[in-house]
């Protein structure tokens, strides 16, 4: 209980919020890292998954990439990239490692979503004379969107969580508060940093849930 109350007083002291290593700065870095990586991974994963799902091929590839991806420690990828010439280019090693980490869940969910579209509906649409493009944009994508959104939610939450690892390799973000706490042997600061990241992750999860609730009925997968 004592640790929690000292962590709370660390969090509420205004001196810890301002300045270069302050909470506000670290929070901004964390948000920036998460948003950039999520956008990049969506740009890479979603078109590939949607096209593979539309033509109905390469499913085993998507699922296998996902499984192999889980076996590769993000921390190791980060450090490996850091030691290559890329390591001198600021945030790039972190961004690449995080994008590699976020692509598999996006890819699998979007592919599965496209494949699970009711084949009777697809045949009906074809029977109505829809072209491949119309079928993709007016039938398959809307019906697959609940699973695509779920994939994005999983990826976003895991990105927030994993972006803390950047700090182990000297990068920015909320993880820095934790590693700095370890170096100072200050348990309250470590716990305070951990709480910040956990709350951030839960906040992102909540935002996605609210977003899905507010979305139009077809995007929620509702059949009402």
């Amino acid at each position: 209980m004592n640790t929690l109350s000292s962590a709370w007083s660390w969090l509420t002291s205004s001196a810890n919020w301002s300045g270069d290593g302050g909470i506000t700065h670290r929070l901004t870095q964390h948000l920036y890292l998460t948003v950039v990586c999520l956008a990049l991974s969506c740009l890479i994963a979603l078109p590939v998954a949607v096209v593979l799902g539309h033509i109905g091929k390469g499913g085993a590839l998507a699922v296998n990439i996902s499984n192999v991806g889980r076996a590769v420690p993000t921390f190791a990828v980060l450090v490996l990239l850091l030691l290559t010439p890329l390591g001198r280019h600021g945030d790039w090693p972190t961004v690449i490692a995080l994008v590699l980490f976020a692509v598999p869940p996006l890819l699998t969910n979007a592919y599965v979503g496209m494949r699970e579209v009711d084949q009777d509906v697809v045949r009906a649409a074809r029977g109505m004379g829809m072209t491949g493009r119309q079928l993709l944009f007016h039938v398959e994508l809307p019906l697959a969107s609940p699973l695509i959104l779920t994939g994005m939610r999983i990826a976003a939450v895991q990105l927030v969580a994993t972006a803390t690892l950047a700090a182990l390799a000297g990068g920015g973000g909320l993880g820095r508060i934790i590693t700095a706490g370890f170096n100072l042997a200050s348990t309250p600061q470590v716990v305070a940093g951990a709480l910040l990241v956990a709350v951030f992750a839960l906040l992102v999860e909540t935002l996605f849930v609210i977003g899905q609730r507010l979305a139009p009925a077809w995007a929620r997968g509702s059949t009402e």
Partner: protein, 223 residues
């Protein structure tokens, strides 16, 4: 101009045979620690997950809280998890194990529960009709039939645990992660690459071993 040294260690190359031969014992110790941390945490996770999943299956009111709590635990980042547990365990291997146990719980509980729920009602009724009590029904019918789903969860949990152990380097108990961490600080390329590759190899090997165990345990799924 000095000639480049003949030793690949001195040239700091990514792939270096001399590193493998001179640091064999360090690598071996790290691999052992890695395996130990993974095995203990997944086993503890399994011991906790089975009763939780059985409880969630048996009593409807238990399912919500069990799934809710394990999902929230999974959302907490690994680095943050280790730090939150720091006041309880201090800088120790138990800290890393406790964090990994909490992670594997989510995957294990979900998959075991899915397996239990997929047992056909007819099968359970047939067993009851043959005079099976609730305990015998669970041990002899429901748990074996949920094995394929449970094993799928166990494989994912194990592979994830192997990769998460590396983060334990922050408290000095990260197995191969320790070598990656110290290699990063000293720009020791061969050490970082070797330890990373070993991590992936351990994950793949563990997955294959569990796949073999699954085939042995569920002969009825093979025709």
């Amino acid at each position: 101009m000095t000639a480049p040294p003949h030793d690949c260690l001195a040239r700091n190359e990514w792939i270096c045979g001399a590193y493998l031969s001179t640091r064999r014992s360090i690598l071996w110790d790290a691999v052992l620690q890695h395996l130990q941390l993974t095995a203990v945490s997944v086993l503890v996770g399994l011991v906790l997950a089975v009763p939780l999943a059985v409880a969630a299956r048996r009593w409807r009111w238990a399912a919500g809280p069990v799934l809710g709590v394990t999902t929230v635990l999974y959302t907490i980042p690994s680095l943050a998890m280790f730090s939150l547990l720091l006041p309880v365990y201090g800088l120790s291997a138990s800290l890393v194990i406790a964090g990994l146990v909490l992670y594997s719980l989510t995957l294990l509980v979900r998959n075991i529960l899915a397996g239990l729920r997929a047992v056909p009602e007819e099968t359970r009724q047939a067993a009851r009709g043959m005079g099976y009590g609730p305990i015998r029904l669970l041990l002899a019918v429901e748990l074996p039939l949920s094995l394929p789903a449970a094993m799928a969860g166990l494989r994912i949990a194990t592979v994830s645990a192997v990769s998460l152990v590396t983060v334990g380097a922050i408290v000095g108990y990260g197995g191969l992660g320790n070598l990656i961490y110290s290699g990063m600080n000293s720009f020791f390329k061969a050490q970082v690459l070797t330890a990373s590759v070993l991590c992936v190899l351990i994950a793949v090997a563990a997955d294959l071993v569990l796949l073999g165990v699954q085939r042995l345990l569920t002969p009825w799924t093979r025709v």
